[in-house]
């Protein structure tokens, strides 16, 4: 059942994710290498395997975003960093669920947010639901153009062909209008804007 993934070094994973290359393969490698271990942390700390799955997905999103934003520079190993992300995101989730036992106070102390980008990642996670809504509000074409250009790193020429526009200038204008619309939507949502800014600069 399991196809053996080729082994990747930390540097290769960071390279791939930051350049948005072989992302699927790199993510799968991270799942195979770390899911079980990080999941066990959640399960051993008042969670179940469903929680562990959700938290691991959040960890992968946060990690990929941090790498892409240049916020993970490999000061620690990926394994150590993911462990810390997983721990912090889970403790934050427990806190959100409103466990007011004394243990939670201990949790808070145990949570180590000193590592680069972790608190920004937690904030970004909070922002995620709001972000989904905002991007969906943009509408299909805008979403597609912006994703192709800024996420998939496709060139104007490639987008021109795949979306059937007359010329590059049309795509360029459309892209700018979409970005401007997104900018406006984000300006209406101060906390979302703030959280995204933190991820960018924090």
């Amino acid at each position: 059942m399991i196809t053996r993934a080729e082994s990747l070094t930390d540097d290769e994973i960071i390279d791939n994710l930051s350049q948005n290359r072989d992302v699927d393969m790199s993510l799968k490698f991270l799942y195979r290498s770390h899911y079980e271990y990080l999941g066990r942390y959640v399960v051993n700390n008042s969670g179940n395997w469903d929680d562990a799955q959700d938290i691991f997905q959040e960890v992968m999103i946060a990690f990929t975003n941090l790498v892409r934003a240049g916020k993970f520079r490999g000061d620690s190993s990926i394994k150590t960093f993911l462990y810390s992300l997983n721990k912090n995101i889970w403790l934050n989730e427990l806190k959100k669920r409103g466990r007011t036992e004394i243990r939670e106070m201990k949790y808070e102390k145990a949570a180590d947010k000193s590592e680069h980008g972790i608190s920004a990642a937690i904030e970004a996670r909070e922002a995620n639901a709001g972000l989904m809504k905002v991007i969906d509000e943009l509408g299909g074409t805008c979403k597609k153009i912006l994703l192709l250009y800024y996420y998939e790193n496709q060139s104007m020429k490639e987008i021109l062909t795949s979306l059937n526009y007359e010329n590059e200038q049309v795509v360029r204008n459309k892209k700018y209008k979409c970005l401007k619309r997104l900018e406006e939507l984000l300006a209406e949502n101060k906390s979302l804007y703030h959280q995204l800014k933190n991820l960018l600069h924090g």
């Binding site: 051993n44 992968m60 999103i61 243990r103 989904m132 970005l179 300006a187 960018l200």
Partner: protein, 248 residues
């Protein structure tokens, strides 16, 4: 004015999309230093771009996640079955010891033995997602097959990662070679990715070896550290039972 704004937007986009050459970029960046409105506009466009990237990442991860959960949950189910079997086994063992205690209650006063407390807290290390180099596969596979003797024979091989060392320690523990187990766990518990696991099993090895003082010290440490992976494994009640054993 409208024309000027348009020009400025064009310039901002050229900057953001990396279309400026060195000289133009330099000029733009020095303008940024003095023009705070321009700087603010740049930032809000950067945030918008970051939000697109974040959205793209979330969608990508979700797709991979769905696929990987299917692959990994099959592994997970296997380990659950093992744990379940263990649970049944221990339940039977505990049930059996209850009967023995009940039968012997007139002769002996009931007292938990170190062995019993050991069984109560012991959770086997789930070997799954076997991967990596030859050596590692071998050790994890042998452990999974409960071939503990073969695992400990690997203790002299080169290039052991901490997971291998942990499994070697565990295999000594399973064979009741407690001093060896203690030495292996001690070495791994100093630092590294298996630190929490090593500390947990080290505490149990001490308990089984009747080194109660050392066992208690570690158990209390794990119990009071909420961030420890095995934090819930040693409850206060459990530690009290070990203390009673120690005072006998």
């Amino acid at each position: 004015m409208a024309e000027f704004l348009h020009d400025n937007e064009e310039i901002l986009m050229r900057y953001l999309d990396g279309e400026m050459d060195g000289a133009e970029k330099e000029m733009f960046e020095s303008q940024l230093q003095t023009d705070s409105a321009l700087k603010q506009r740049l930032e809000s466009l950067q945030v918008a771009i970051a939000s697109v990237q974040q959205y793209g990442t979330a969608e990508k991860v979700k797709a991979v996640h769905a696929e990987m959960m299917q692959e990994l949950s099959s592994v997970h189910k296997e380990s659950k079955v093992v744990l379940m079997r263990r649970f049944v086994k221990y339940s039977l063992a505990i049930a059996a010891s209850v009967i023995i205690i009940l039968v012997g209650v007139n002769i002996f006063t009931s007292q938990p033995s170190s062995e019993k407390l050991y069984n109560e807290a012991f959770v086997d290390y789930g070997v799954s997602g076997v991967r990596g180099g030859e050596n590692r596969d071998d050790i994890a596979k042998l452990y999974q097959l409960h071939n503990y003797k073969a695992v400990t024979e690997k203790s002299t091989s080169q290039n052991l990662v901490s997971k291998d060392s942990l499994l070697i320690g565990l295999s000594f523990l399973q064979q009741n070679k407690l001093t060896d187990a203690i030495n292996w766990f001690k070495a791994i518990s100093i630092q590294g990715s298996m630190k929490d696991d090593a500390e947990f099993y080290l505490a149990l090895a001490y308990l089984k070896n009747k080194n109660y003082d050392e066992a208690l010290k570690l158990m209390e440490q794990i119990h009071s550290n909420a961030g420890h992976v095995y934090h819930n494994q040693f409850s206060e009640a459990y530690i009290n039972k070990v203390q009673k054993l120690n005072s006998k």
